[in-house]
Each structure stands twice: as C-alpha cells, then as structure tokens.
Symmetry: C2
Amino acid sequence: MINAGWYTELSPMWPGQGLTLKIKEILYRAKSDFQDVCVFESESMGTVLLLDGVIQCTDRDEFSYQEMIAHIPMCSLERPAKKVLVVGGGDGGVLRELARYPYVEEIHMAEIDRMVPEVSKRFFPEVVWPANGRRIEWTYIHTYIYIHTFIHSTSSSRNSQRALPIKTPFFEALHRAVRPGGIVCTQAESLWLHLDIIKALADMCTEVFQGGSVSYATTTIPSYPSGQIGMLVCAKARSGAEGEGDGPLDPRIARQQEPGPLPALGVGELRYYSHEVHSAAFALPVFAKKALGGCLTFQ
Amino acid sequence: MINAGWYTELSPMWPGQGLTLKIKEILYRAKSDFQDVCVFESESMGTVLLLDGVIQCTDRDEFSYQEMIAHIPMCSLERPAKKVLVVGGGDGGVLRELARYPYVEEIHMAEIDRMVPEVSKRFFPEVVWPANGRRIEWTYIHTYIYIHTFIHSTSSSRNSQRALPIKTPFFEALHRAVRPGGIVCTQAESLWLHLDIIKALADMCTEVFQGGSVSYATTTIPSYPSGQIGMLVCAKARSGAEGEGDGPLDPRIARQQEPGPLPALGVGELRYYSHEVHSAAFALPVFAKKALGGCLTFQ
C-alpha cells in the first residue's frame, strides 16, 4: 500500500501488521505477464523491489538471505557441488553467491518472469551477474512446468500466497533430481509468523527425504515480516560410497571452505555468512523447537 | 503515530521506517510524570505497551527479550548470583525471569515511573509478579539519581533518544558495584540499525571493564525496529579466588543450569532461552563482526 509518500507492506500472510518505509522516489512501475513489478528508492533501505506489492529484496539487507540460502547448503555438502539449480532466483543474488565457488561448472536458473532479472540488472548494481566462465542456463517458465518438463521439482516462494500448493509430488521430483547426499534448500517462512506452514512443509519433506535429513536454519533480515526468515535444508540419503559418512547428513556442520571474494567480477567479501553463523543458524528458540521438534532431523 | 485505526512506530532513532500494527482497541492512555503511557490491543501482537509512542513490549514476543537479557548473564556466571539489580524493569518481565532462580535472595528494582508497573500489572497477565519468598525492593527514582545515591551506575534504555548520554562515570559506578566475575548486562540496540552506537558503548565498556570482558549477544524480536536487538554482556575481572577460571570470563559458555518453570507462581516453561540459544547468540553476522571486532573481547 502506497500512501502520502510512505509504503506499507500489507498481506493476508501477516495480517494486522507490516513494515512501513518512506519513499524517496518511485523508479519503476510495470505489469509483467505475471505480476506487478515496482522499484522505489527508500529513505532507509536503499532500492526496494516489490512484486505484487510484497518486498522481494532491498539494497540494505538482501545479502543476508542470499548468502545464507546459498552458502548453508553449499558448505554443508560432503562432496562439492558441480551442478546447481536455482528456482525463482530472478533477482540474481543467489547467482552472485554461487559465482564464489570455482568448482561449480553449471548453474541452471528457472524463473517465470523475464522482467525480474531485467529490472534487477537495471536497478540493483550490488547484484552483479558474474558468469565466471561457466555455463549458466536460463529457462523462463513457471516452476510447475519446469519441474514436469526438466527435473520434476518445485519450491515455495517468498510470496507464498501466490505459490502453487506445496505438494508431495513436486518435492519427490526434486528429491529424485539430486544425487545421494545432495541438498534441496527452500525458503521456509518465519518462526514468529508461520510455524504451521513450516511444520506442514517439514513433515512433508521428512516423508520425501527418507533416510536423509530435514532441518531449519534461520537468518535475520529487517525487510522481511518479523525480521526473521528461515530455510529448510533437506539432504538426500547418502549412498554409502567411499568418503561419505554414515546416517543422515547433519547440515549444522560446515564441511566446505567459506567462499571468498571475486574482485575482478565485482563480488566482494561475504557480509553475513561465516562457518560460525552457519552452525548458530540451526539453534532455534525453545517455542519453535517445541513446535517443530517432531519433524526436524537435526536442530 | 496513530492514524485511521493503525499505529506506526516512527522515531528519529530509525528514520524513514517503522512497524505498522492494526489497532483493535485502545485500552489506556495517560500522561505520567515522565512520559506518555499508552496500551492498545493489536490484531497481530496482542497487547502493546507504548512509552512516548515507542513500543516497550507486546504480549506476542516480550519473552524473547526478557528471557535473553535475564538468562544470558545469569547462566554465564561462575558463581550463582544472590543479589540482582534491575534498572528500568518496570514492566516486570525480567522480575518474572529472575524468579526462576531459587538461589537469588534479593532483587532490587530501580524504575523512574510508578505508572509502568501499575499498567503492566493491569494489562499484561503473562507478566506475573512472583516475589517467591524473597526480598524485592523497589525504588522509584531516575536511574541517574539512583546511581549517585545507591550504587553509582546507569544503563541505556530502549527509548535511547530519551536516555541520558552514556557516560563513562556511570558504567564505572556499575563496575564498582558488582563483585569480581560479576556481570553488567545492558540493552545494546540493533546490529542492523545502530552499529555506531553499539561500537561507542562497547569501546567505553571495554575501557571500564579492564581485565574483564565485553561481548554482544543477539536475539530476534519482531516488535523491535529491524526485528533484532542485542545486549552487551560486561564481565568484571575475576579475583583469582578458588573455583574461578583464569583470564576474562567468556559469556558464550553457559555455566549455570537452565532455569525451570514455577507453576505455583504462574511462571511457565522457558519459551526462547536455552543453553544452545545462549551460545549461538554470540555468533554475529560478518558485517557486524567486522564493525565491532576491535571492541569486543569474545565474539
């Protein structure tokens, strides 16, 4: 809602509350084939990208979410990832973070809306697009179709009210797509606002990732409702091959090196993620641990 | 700011942004000798207490801050605390948390405004006032005067713009008041909003607590600006007495048992704090660690 120079983020997903930001200037407004796209310059959070009126990212704090959702799964893996699929990463932040890993050979991007990367490239200079000599393949279709056409998967989306229902077959397809010991990491809402959604998602993932593990990691991010967001880290059962540990993969342990900067490509030092922050992110407040205890493997 | 049934928390301390809450009903409005006091029922956060228009606590999330600011220092101590001073704890939440420790013999409360505990007792049933057979002594004077009259100390306050300037002599007085190995814990603002204030406070405390330690612990709390707040944990140098460790006290280690519920007094199980959350609270995001690195003993 925009009113007299102020924007308030209202949504049925967080009724009766919302972050209010002072607008300096509206930079862009358009309707893509899928959603309303708006970019404005705020007084306190830098440039803000709205999709259907909901904050997608801000200059000020996007690195928290982007670094955590990229590096927690990447650093938890026993064997470094060579191929990565990003579902709905049109703002480019996760792509920037993946560029830090020299051993990643292929990145596949599935994004429904061509307008999102176009707008992000234009208005978010901090989000660079470093191909870094590797293959990056974009597919502009709905995740639902992508799944059934390419790898049979899906993910939840930040704008959950617009997402397709979370259904077991989609996560089963994702589970099939990753190698043994591989990880599917999905945005998983706020402990303060959406414990019921997190529980349903975790229960379903636990069913799908049998023999593997399902855990929740948290990060702070002022521009998200409640200032906190988390991700479910779902690890596929290991194959028992040489060099693999026994039992389900514990994602609280960072196994791969912290990735560094790539100054030549405009990718600076990490600003949020470290191995210490990685492990601490799995320590949940008692109220959340109680509510989710039965459906998380490690917490 | 209250407008058309909605409240927005605006302040020069966080310019250009604020949490917006839908008001169900305004329950109380008065002017005490010191400040505007307002209580309203919100749609999403339960009962909300405002002091001079700034959120002091809400039903929904007060336990996060109250548990963390009470139990992190209490559980870090090598020798259990028998006497505790609470400065500005008029809403009663910290008193409730301290009641969990059977070995605490005396609690001293210094609160400027009689209206705050009166209003809290009336409108916040979750915040019980359990004396639990021990001595609780209230003093209703300004912290500044309390310090100079009783123990010569001060603290920062949530409404920092109304607080007296943070000055070395006040913290020197607090430092004198605690025993060797004792802890002074003060609210210390948000990493996302106030790194400059935190740095100034930590630098000053490091100067005062020489031979001891100064560290920052964080908690999530949706009703605070940015959804995150922290506390400085300042430990006085140990005396070298028997049973004490060497060097400065590391508050990341929980040494005392997690306190339990007191059902007879209406104090339930802990809802946020655990030993695991205690240690994780000191793992700071890289941007904060870099900014504060030089002035924190443990992080």
